[in-house]
């Protein structure tokens, strides 16, 4: 299923892409896209949203939780959640948003030093 960027609204229930693995360190999440070989770091608020993306919870549900926990108005929480999820979609971290093209946001590519080509001498 391919989603349009403007589908990211209160009723949308995204889930992480299966090619993306996550590890929590302190209050941040490091994501590794195993196909694009790219590392992404989510800040603490985006990290909290990431772990609530299970394909059933809508962004409205998540915003309700965020509003309760943070003591902020629902509309402000929803705006923040949608912003975070759109950023994740831009980086092709969500199911339905991955394309053959390169991600549009900056990322931290991982390349392996190629000992098979050049013997190390440093």
């Amino acid at each position: 299923v391919s989603h349009a960027h403007n589908s990211i609204a209160a009723s949308f229930a995204p889930r992480p892409h299966r090619d993306v693995v996550a590890a929590e360190v302190d209050d941040e999440v490091v994501l590794y896209d195993t196909v694009a070989a790219a590392i992404h770091i989510l800040n603490s608020s985006a990290s909290a949203v990431w772990f609530m993306l299970d394909g059933t919870a809508t962004l409205g549900d998540i915003a309700t939780d965020v509003a309760d926990v943070c003591g902020i108005p629902y509309d402000a929480a929803l705006s923040d959640v949608i912003g975070a999820v759109r950023s994740m979609a831009d980086q092709q971290l969500l199911d339905g948003f991955k394309t053959a093209s390169e991600p549009t946001r900056a990322r931290d590519d991982v390349t392996t030093p190629r000992y098979s080509e050049v013997p190390p001498n440093n």
């Binding site: 360190v25 302190d26 195993t34 590392i39 931290d108 030093p113 013997p119 190390p120 440093n122």
Partner: protein, 267 residues
């Protein structure tokens, strides 16, 4: 010169030997590899056979350099050994393109790409009393998080010969393009405690800046030999390492101030 004794050595779970009809070259190789010890009780999983001689350098019966002159021969032999060991050890260890040294019972790991000054920096640390682990490969055992020694010789490029002049090998054509220097003291397997990402910026002030654990994970992944092969296995390992270490970015303006900063850090 008579044929040198064949010495079996061990590196990150593999054994290796260097033999060949160029007896001088074999002897030189055995000298620079003397920090790789062999325990007859070890159960090694693999063996590599490097042959140096009149027909070039061969590794495991494959010609890897058809014609190698003495000034580059040791560099090539060290490189081909490292290449083989990295390929074999990637299932057992998290492997990083990094220098590493031990102090106060903890390992300091310095991941960085080639030409970043890893060897020069770790040579300076050895001078300051650190025990040597490697100037090229930091191998971390995933469960214990011990950094295993890979004590290849310090491979010192001409750009650092001035600042490390006291380490110059005896005048020898085998060291004419790169010094291969045996460090005085090799560390035992040591728990990783500090991860510092160095960049060389000549003339700028040396600066050591703390970084977040997430940045440590990203930096380790960038400098890993085996991360991309199985990222889903290694990402939690890297996260576990980062959680238990102090991470820094080090701008190296000059060797002495950088060494001072790392001595302070590890004191």
């Amino acid at each position: 010169m008579s044929a040198p004794t064949v010495r079996r050595r061990r590196a990150l779970g593999c054994t290796f030997t260097v033999t060949g009809d160029d007896h001088v070259a074999v002897e030189r190789a055995n000298e620079i590899f003397s920090a790789f010890r062999f325990d007859p009780d070890d159960n090694s999983r693999c063996h590599h056979h490097i042959v140096v001689g009149s027909s070039g350098v061969h590794r495991d019966h494959v010609t890897v350099d058809a014609a190698v002159r003495p000034p580059v021969l040791l560099t090539q032999v060290v490189g081909h050994l490292t290449q083989a060991v990295v390929a074999d050890a990637g299932n057992r260890y998290a492997l990083f393109h990094a220098a590493a040294a031990e102090r106060s019972g903890g390992a300091l790991v310095l991941p960085a790409p080639s030409e970043s000054g890893k060897t020069t920096l770790v040579a300076g640390l050895v001078d300051a009393g650190f025990a040597y682990l490697s100037d090229e490969v930091a191998a971390i055992e995933p469960r214990s998080r011990l950094v295993m020694p890979y004590p290849k010789p310090l491979s010192i490029d001409p750009g650092s010969w001035n600042v490390l002049a006291h380490m110059a090998p005896d005048d020898d054509e085998y060291h004419a393009t790169q010094w291969q220097v045996l460090p005085p003291r090799i560390a035992p397997p040591s728990p990783v405690r500090w991860i510092v990402f160095p960049t060389y910026a000549e003339g700028e002030p040396t600066e050591l800046v703390p970084i977040r654990a997430s940045e440590v994970v990203a930096g380790l992944a960038r400098n890993s030999f085996n991360f991309t092969r199985n990222g889903s296995r290694w990402l939690p390992v890297l996260a576990g390492i980062a959680k238990r270490c102090a991470g820094y970015r080090l701008r190296v303006g000059d060797l002495n101030s950088a060494v001072d900063a790392l001595v302070d850090l590890t004191s």
